[in-house]
C-alpha cells in the first residue's frame, strides 16, 4: 500500500518540447488544482517560436505551478517535482529541482539523437543522476503511451502526441486528483474526432493506472483546501482579468467598449478574449498597425465609446505620437502595455518591467499622464477598472502596465459582486461647462461628437486656454502645460492612499515594488519578518502621480530597497520626487523575480 502524505505546498514543473502540449496539460492540471480548492500561482514559460528546433534547449517549453493549502504568493522558485520529457528539458531544469525532489523523466526522450541535440554529447545524464539526492523515476512514457493507444484507428503521429495526457494521468494519480474534468475537456475539444478523443482518454487513464498498479512511487500526496476568503472563485490569467475589467468598466460607464489593437506577444490574448463578446456589443478591431489601433481608439472616444488600445513595448514606441495627441486634446483613452523583455524585439515571451520610464517620459514635449500597474493576474481586473475610472474622471489618456508574467500566469480570483463594483463618474458635474472650460481639478468636459449645438474643433495644435482656438502665444503655452500637469497631479488625491502591505511605518526597512514582483516581494518580506527582521513591504499600483501620502510614508523608513525587473526605474522616480536615497535591487533576466540568489 502506497502511503499518502499531506503537503502544505508544492511546486511542480513540467518541461518538454514546445510541440509536446506542455501548456495544455499545465492548464488542465491548474484547473484540477483550482477544483480541489488550493491557492495557486502558475508560470507558463515557452519559446517565442511556434515549433522551435525539436529536441534542442531552444525548443523547451515549461509550465510551473505552485499550489498549496496556505497562501501562495508566486509560481515558486525551486520545484518539488520535475517532469522532463526529453534530455534538453532535463538539462535546463534539473538545477531548479530541490534536493530530495521527485524527478520523472521520459526515458524515450534520451536516445543518442536527443542527447546530442540537448548538448549532452554521448553520455546519458540519466546514468549519473544522484539517486540518493532525488527520487528518480525513469519511465518509457512514449512507449507506454503508444501501447496504451494501440487499438485506436489514428495515425502513429497522433498516437505519439498523446504522451502529454499520459504524464498528466501520472500527476493526477500522484496528487490524488480526479480525471473527470479533463475527460470532459477532451470531449469538448475532440468530440468530432472519435479516434483522437479515444486515444487521449486512454492515455490519460493509462498514466493514472500506471501510478496505481505499478506502485513504483513511494507515496501519493494530498494538498488540502486553502482557506481563501469566502466567496465564489475562478482561476484567471492577467490577460483574461484585463478583458473582464474592460467589460465591467464599459458596463459601469454605460459606454460601449471599442478595443483596437494589433497582434503582439504577450498582449494578444486580450484581443482573443474580447473578440468573443461581439454579441453583447464589444467592438474589437484588428487594425493594420499599432498606430492605426491607437488612433482608431481615439476616434472611438469622440464617438462616445470607451476607447481602448493595447500592445506590448514595441507597439508603445509606435503609439507614442497618438498618446501625445490624446494628452493635448485631453480625452479619456486607455492604453494597455503588457510589457516584455526589450529592447527592440527582445525576448517576446519573457517578462520584464522596463517600460515605466517610457510610460512616464516616452513622448515629445511636456506630456504627463496617469500610470497604473497591475500587481498580479487577478489584480489586473481592479487595475483595469482603475485605469478606466481615472481616464473618464480626468479626461486624460491613462497607461495601464501589465507584463508577460502576470499576463499568462494565473491564480484564483474572487469573483466580484457586480452590485459592489465601485467606479466613480464625475462627468455629470461638468455638464454645464463650455467645451474648453475646466472644473476645480482643471478637467475639461468630455463632449462626444453628435450633440446638437455643441460643435467644436480640436486637434494637436496648442489651444488657447479660454477659447480653445489655435494659439501660438508664449504665455498661453506655458499656462496650458501647467494646466495639463496640474490636472494629472490632481489624480493623487482622487485615488486610494498608499498603504503598507506587510509591516508598518515603525519598521526600519521598506522593500518597495510595483507590478508583477508583488508576490515575490511579499513572500521574501514575509520570510524575513518571520526570521525577526524589521522589514515592511510597500507596493505601488498607482505610479503617476504617486498617492498623496507617499512621501510621508516613505520618509518614515530608515532604508528603502527597490527590487525591480529593470535597471532601476521606480527607484529613479522615488529619488527624483522625494530626495530619498533609495537603493535599487535590479534583475533583468526575462524571468519573474525569485527568492533565490542568482
Amino acid at each position: 500500500m502506497v502511503e499518502s502524505i499531506i503537503k502544505k505546498e508544492v511546486v511542480v514543473k513540467i518541461a518538454g518540447d514546445s510541440g509536446d502540449g506542455i501548456q495544455l496539460i499545465g492548464g488542465q492540471f491548474t484547473g484540477s488544482t483550482y477544483e480541489v480548492g488550493n491557492d495557486l500561482a502558475t508560470f507558463p514559460d515557452f519559446p517565442a517560436e511556434i515549433r522551435a528546433p525539436q529536441g534542442t534547449q531552444a525548443g523547451v517549453s515549461g509550465f510551473q505551478i505552485h499550489f498549496g493549502s496556505v497562501e501562495i504568493e508566486t509560481a515558486g522558485d525551486d520545484c518539488d517535482v520535475l517532469v522532463a520529457l526529453n534530455a534538453a528539458a532535463l538539462k535546463i531544469n534539473l538545477k531548479s529541482l530541490k534536493p530530495g525532489g521527485i524527478l520523472i523523466v521520459d526515458t524515450n526522450g534520451f536516445d543518442s539523437k536527443n542527447l546530442k541535440l540537448a548538448g549532452y554529447g554521448t553520455e546519458n545524464p540519466l546514468d549519473s543522476i544522484d539517486r540518493a539526492n532525488y527520487q528518480f523515476y525513469g519511465i518509457a512514457i512514449s512507449d507506454q503511451t503508444k501501447r496504451s493507444v494501440e487499438q485506436c484507428a489514428i495515425d502513429p503521429k497522433e498516437k505519439d502526441r498523446c504522451k502529454n495526457m499520459y504524464i498528466l494521468g501520472v500527476l493526477y494519480w500522484l496528487y490524488e486528483r480526479n480525471m473527470d474534468s479533463t475527460i470532459a475537456f477532451l470531449n469538448a475539444k475532440f468530440g468530432k474526432q472519435a479516434g483522437i478523443l479515444e486515444a487521449n482518454v486512454l492515455a490519460l487513464k493509462a498514466g493514472y493506472y500506471f501510478g496505481e498498479t505499478t506502485e513504483i512511487f513511494k507515496a501519493r500526496y494530498e494538498v488540502k483546501e486553502a482557506h481563501l476568503a469566502k466567496g465564489d472563485y475562478r482561476n484567471i490569467t492577467g490577460n483574461q482579468a484585463i478583458s473582464l475589467g474592460l467589460i465591467a468598466a464599459s458596463h459601469q460607464l454605460q459606454k460601449p467598449l471599442f478595443f483596437a489593437t494589433y497582434p503582439i506577444t504577450p498582449a494578444s490574448d486580450i484581443l482573443h478574449e474580447l473578440a468573443k463578446y461581439k454579441e453583447i456589443g464589444v467592438e474589437t478591431v484588428q487594425a493594420e498597425d499599432e498606430i492605426a489601433a491607437a488612433t482608431m481608439a481615439i476616434g472611438a472616444v469622440f464617438g462616445g465609446n470607451l476607447g481602448v488600445t493595447c500592445t506590448s513595448g514595441p507597439g508603445m514606441d509606435l503609439k507614442a505620437e497618438s498618446i501625445s495627441l490624446a494628452v493635448s486634446m485631453e480625452i479619456p483613452l486607455v492604453v494597455i502595455d503588457v510589457q516584455r523583455a526589450g529592447p527592440s524585439t527582445g525576448m517576446p515571451t519573457k517578462t520584464e518591467q522596463a517600460d515605466l520610464m517610457m510610460a512616464m517620459y516616452g513622448r515629445h514635449g511636456e506630456c504627463p499622464l496617469p500610470i497604473i500597474a497591475a500587481k498580479s493576474p487577478s489584480n489586473c481586473f481592479e487595475a483595469t477598472l482603475k485605469a478606466c475610472e481615472i481616464a473618464f474622471n480626468f479626461n486624460t489618456p491613462v497607461i495601464l502596465l501589465s507584463d508577460g508574467y502576470i499576463a499568462n500566469g494565473s491564480e484564483p480570483w474572487l469573483i466580484p459582486n457586480v452590485d459592489e463594483i465601485d467606479m466613480r463618474d464625475t462627468e455629470s458635474k461638468r455638464a454645464n461647462l463650455k467645451t474648453f472650460e475646466r472644473d476645480e481639478n482643471m478637467v475639461r468636459p468630455y463632449i462626444p461628437f453628435g450633440i446638437a449645438g455643441k460643435e467644436y474643433r480640436i486637434g494637436g495644435l496648442e489651444k488657447d486656454f479660454v477659447t480653445g482656438g489655435i494659439s501660438y502665444d508664449a504665455q498661453n503655452h506655458e499656462k496650458m502645460i501647467l494646466t495639463r500637469e496640474a490636472k494629472v497631479n490632481a489624480v493623487a488625491n482622487f485615488c486610494n492612499p498608499l498603504s503598507i502591505e506587510l509591516g508598518s511605518e515603525n519598521d526600519e526597512i521598506a522593500v518597495i515594488g510595483w507590478g508583477s514582483t508583488y508576490g515575490s516581494i511579499r513572500a521574501a518580506v514575509k520570510k524575513l519578518r518571520e526570521e525577526g527582521h524589521s522589514v515592511a513591504h510597500i507596493h505601488f499600483t498607482q505610479l503617476h502621480p504617486f498617492p498623496a501620502n507617499t512621501e510621508k510614508i516613505l520618509k518614515s523608513f530608515k532604508k528603502i530597497i527597490v527590487p525591480e525587473m529593470n535597471r532601476g526605474q521606480l527607484v529613479k522616480l522615488i529619488r527624483e520626487q522625494f530626495l530619498i536615497d533609495a537603493i535599487s535591487y535590479s534583475k533583468v533576466q526575462g524571468y519573474p523575480s525569485n527568492n533565490r540568489k542568482s
Partner: protein, 316 residues
C-alpha cells in the same frame, strides 16, 4: 441651412490664392444641400496645409496627426455610425506617411468620405517633393531632380479594393461640387482626388488641365452612361486593353466607349490616362468607378447589462 451656417469663427490661414479656398467653399455649399443636421457632420484631418480644413468649418472636427486621419476617422465612424464622417488629407499625409492606412481603409470600405488634396508638393514643410510629384521634380529636397517614381493614388485605391473613386480639380467649381455630391451619396469609402494648385511651391502644376488653350485636348470629363468624348470631335475607345483616340468626324460617335462606372477593368486604364505609357491621352476627371459592396461596420450596440456582466464574470 445655407453655406454660411458652416463657416467657423476661425481666421483662415491659407496663403491668399490657395486652391484650398475653392474646395472649402464648395464643401460648405454641399453640406448645406445635404439633408443632414449640422451636428452630425465630423471632419477629420491629418497634418499639412489642407489638414487645417476642419478648423474652418462649423461642424465637429479633429485636426489629428500626420497620416492618421483615415484611421482616426475609422474609429469615429465605427463607434458612432450616425455621424457623416469626412476625411481631409493630402498627397503627403494620405499617401506617404499615411499610405498604410489609406490602403486598409479602401479594402475595409468603412463609410467615410475621403477628400485627397493632391498638389504634388509638401506645402506646410515648405516645398519638398511629394509621392505624387513627377519624376525629376526640382524641389528643396531634390535640387537635382527627384528620382522617385510618382504614385497614382486612384490606381492604388482601385488595387486596394476601393468602392468609389473620382477625380476633380479646384478650378472647376461646378464639377467639384457635383463630385462632392456624388461622394456624399456613396455608401462605403468614397475617394475624391482633387487636383489643387499650390501657387507658392508648385504653381501651375495642373495648368495643362485648366488653361483655356490646353484643357480641351488634355482632359476628358466622364459621365456614367455617356460616350467618352473630349476636345474637338474626339473620343476614346478601349478594347481589349488597347486605348485608342477616335476621330469622331471620320469614325462616328458610336465608336466611342460608353462610360460604365461599374467596369473595374476599364477603370484600371482610365485612372492611368494622361501619364506614363498613356501620356498621349487626356487626363480623366469625374466619377470613374463605383460599386455597391459590403461596408465595414458593427452591429448596432446597446450597453452591456448587469446580467450580461454577471454571466461573463462568473463563467468558469
Amino acid at each position: 441651412m445655407t453655406a454660411k451656417d458652416f463657416v467657423s469663427d476661425q481666421e483662415i490661414r491659407w496663403c491668399p490664392g490657395c486652391g484650398d479656398f475653392a474646395v472649402l467653399k464648395q464643401v460648405q455649399n454641399v453640406l448645406a444641400k445635404l439633408n443632414i443636421p449640422k451636428h452630425q457632420y465630423a471632419f477629420v484631418s491629418g497634418i499639412g496645409c489642407s489638414s487645417r480644413f476642419p478648423y474652418y468649418l462649423d461642424t465637429y472636427g479633429i485636426h489629428s496627426i500626420h497620416g492618421r486621419a483615415t484611421s482616426l476617422a475609422t474609429g469615429l465612424k465605427l463607434s458612432n455610425p450616425a455621424l457623416s464622417v469626412w476625411v481631409i488629407t493630402g498627397d503627403g499625409d494620405g499617401l506617404s506617411i499615411g499610405g498604410n492606412h489609406f490602403i486598409h481603409l479602401m479594402r475595409r470600405n468603412v463609410d467615410l468620405k475621403v477628400l485627397l488634396f493632391n498638389n504634388q508638393v509638401y506645402g506646410l514643410t515648405k516645398g519638398q517633393y511629394s509621392p505624387t510629384s513627377p519624376l525629376h521634380t526640382i524641389s528643396k529636397s531634390s535640387p537635382l531632380g527627384s528620382i522617385d517614381n510618382p504614385m497614382n493614388p486612384l490606381l492604388v485605391a482601385l488595387a486596394s479594393g476601393a468602392s468609389f473613386i473620382a477625380r476633380t480639380i479646384d478650378r472647376e467649381a461646378k464639377h467639384l461640387q457635383q463630385m462632392l455630391l456624388d461622394v456624399a451619396d456613396h455608401k462605403g469609402t468614397a475617394l475624391l482626388e482633387i487636383y489643387q494648385n499650390c501657387h507658392i511651391f508648385n504653381d501651375g502644376a495642373f495648368d495643362l488641365y485648366t488653361d483655356k488653350q490646353t484643357k480641351q485636348e488634355s482632359t476628358i470629363y466622364l459621365e456614367d452612361g455617356k460616350p467618352m468624348i473630349f476636345g474637338l470631335n474626339k473620343g476614346i475607345d478601349i478594347d481589349n486593353q488597347v486605348v485608342r483616340i477616335i476621330d469622331i468626324e471620320k469614325e462616328g460617335a458610336d465608336k466611342c466607349l460608353i462610360h460604365d462606372i461599374k467596369n473595374k477593368e476599364i477603370a484600371n486604364i482610365l485612372v492611368r490616362l494622361g501619364e506614363g505609357e498613356f501620356s498621349d491621352f487626356p487626363k480623366v476627371f469625374g466619377l470613374i468607378y463605383a460599386e455597391k459592396r459590403e461596408v465595414y461596420s458593427f452591429p448596432e450596440k446597446t450597453n452591456i447589462t448587469k446580467s450580461e456582466l454577471k454571466n461573463i464574470l462568473t463563467k468558469k
